[in-house]
Subunit: 214 residues, 2 copies
DNA sequence: TCCGAAATGTTGTAATTACAACATACTTTC
DNA sequence: GAAAGTATGTTGTAATTACAACATTTCGGA
């Protein structure tokens, strides 16, 4: 198992290499690979493992019975997912998790946290708290992206956020057109159309998933 | 200060009355009252206090420069808010917090957590973790309510959630029409209109904020 | 390089929503 | 209890979006 990415993660901040190895053992760390498009978790699953993305990326999705397909979040290399369900035992998942590309996931069993000695537990809990708190802010950012009533406003809200994150007017986004549409809660064709108009209006330039804000 | 509500809260689970009093001192607990409609925090504020609703309720809102007004969450008596900003120092708030009705708020300074002795800190961190994790699930529930493309779908998604929470087909909701519209991200008049249609179609019955799913 | 599959772009029409304007009902205050 | 103010319901029109159908581009194998 490649522990370099893991030991640099927010969860193990403040732990040295030896401690990380001990923790990985205590938390019964397991690695698993998925092919692009594979389902990692299904809505309704009950889990107790925190998940870490070693390579690739996954999408958190809501798929309801009327065919509405919504992407709530994209989790990329070096980030965690399923914290909520790992830390609240018996809460069935309300979302699906899919491999957005070929990826490697490490599972960490949170039921074992109680058995750690107190000094390790304090540090781990503090790190977990930072992770869930940051995830909170991240989750609400989607609300800002879907808050504008019109498609153009949503696109701009999203692109602005990415631009600020990447600290540049030119950047790649992790979504293809269909995924961006599902994330912004609009029709794919309407999204394509609006992107064309925005280019004609000189607001942006884009080609595939590379964007530039003019 | 009325500590009975506080000591029964998720934050102080596992602490006895004496410990709660000690903690309230260590965390520099302060109480403040607000009139309905008052702004408790503004977007851009930097805070380090966890906030607890003793009486009344508050709304978490996003108000952008184009006049879009969106309600992200309603926090009622016995619940916490601003955890994310309290726990991540120097993160400026992205939302406004408003008094939804006359209310009493207790501020708890999270900068002081590091000074607690270890056994108390572990318990407090574990409780904070539960709070933020639950808040995570709660935040994503709004995504499910706004996922349907059409107004009727959003209304039903929301009413179903409330119905499940209250374990009854008949219940009150905490929003008036304008607020419900802002929460579901639709026009107020369209919402009113759709509610009328749904009553004519025999799906629901409602009067003011009392609803019944038929 | 060619083919087929998948992704993206374009267009037109039907359906839905936004918005404004107004009617009605309910509340609060004096 | 009347008046004023607020909340809710209704309606029509303009604007936007959904949806379907098809054109074009891109990308990976054969």
């Amino acid at each position: 198992m490649d522990i370099s990415v893991l030991s640099g993660s927010a969860l193990f901040r403040g732990f040295d290499e030896t401690e990380v190895n001990t923790l990985l053992g205590s938390l019964n760390a397991r690695e698993k690979r998925f092919r692009k498009g594979a389902m990692i978790f299904h809505s309704g699953d009950v889990i107790s493992t925190l998940c870490f993305v070693i390579t690739g990326s996954v999408t958190i999705e809501s798929n309801d019975m009327w065919g509405n397909h919504t992407i709530l979040n994209l989790v990329s290399k070096g980030q965690f997912f399923a914290e909520s369900y790992a830390l609240l035992p018996n809460e069935p998942m309300l979302v699906d998790v899919c491999a957005n590309e070929d990826c490697t996931i490490v599972y960490l069993d949170m039921k074992s946290v109680g058995r750690l000695d107190e000094s390790m537990r304090v540090k781990l809990l503090a790190n977990l708290l930072t992770i869930t708190t940051r995830k909170n802010l991240h989750l609400s950012s989607r609300s800002f992206h879907t808050a504008p009533r019109q498609v153009r406003g949503r696109i701009m809200a999203y692109l602005n956020t990415v631009s600020v994150q990447k600290n540049s007017r030119e950047f790649d986004i992790p979504f293809d057109r269909q995924q961006l549409a599902d994330y912004l809660n609009v029709e794919r064709s309407v999204l394509s159309n609006e992107l064309s108009k925005m280019q004609r209006d000189g607001l942006i330039r884009c080609r595939k998933n590379h964007f530039e804000i003019v």
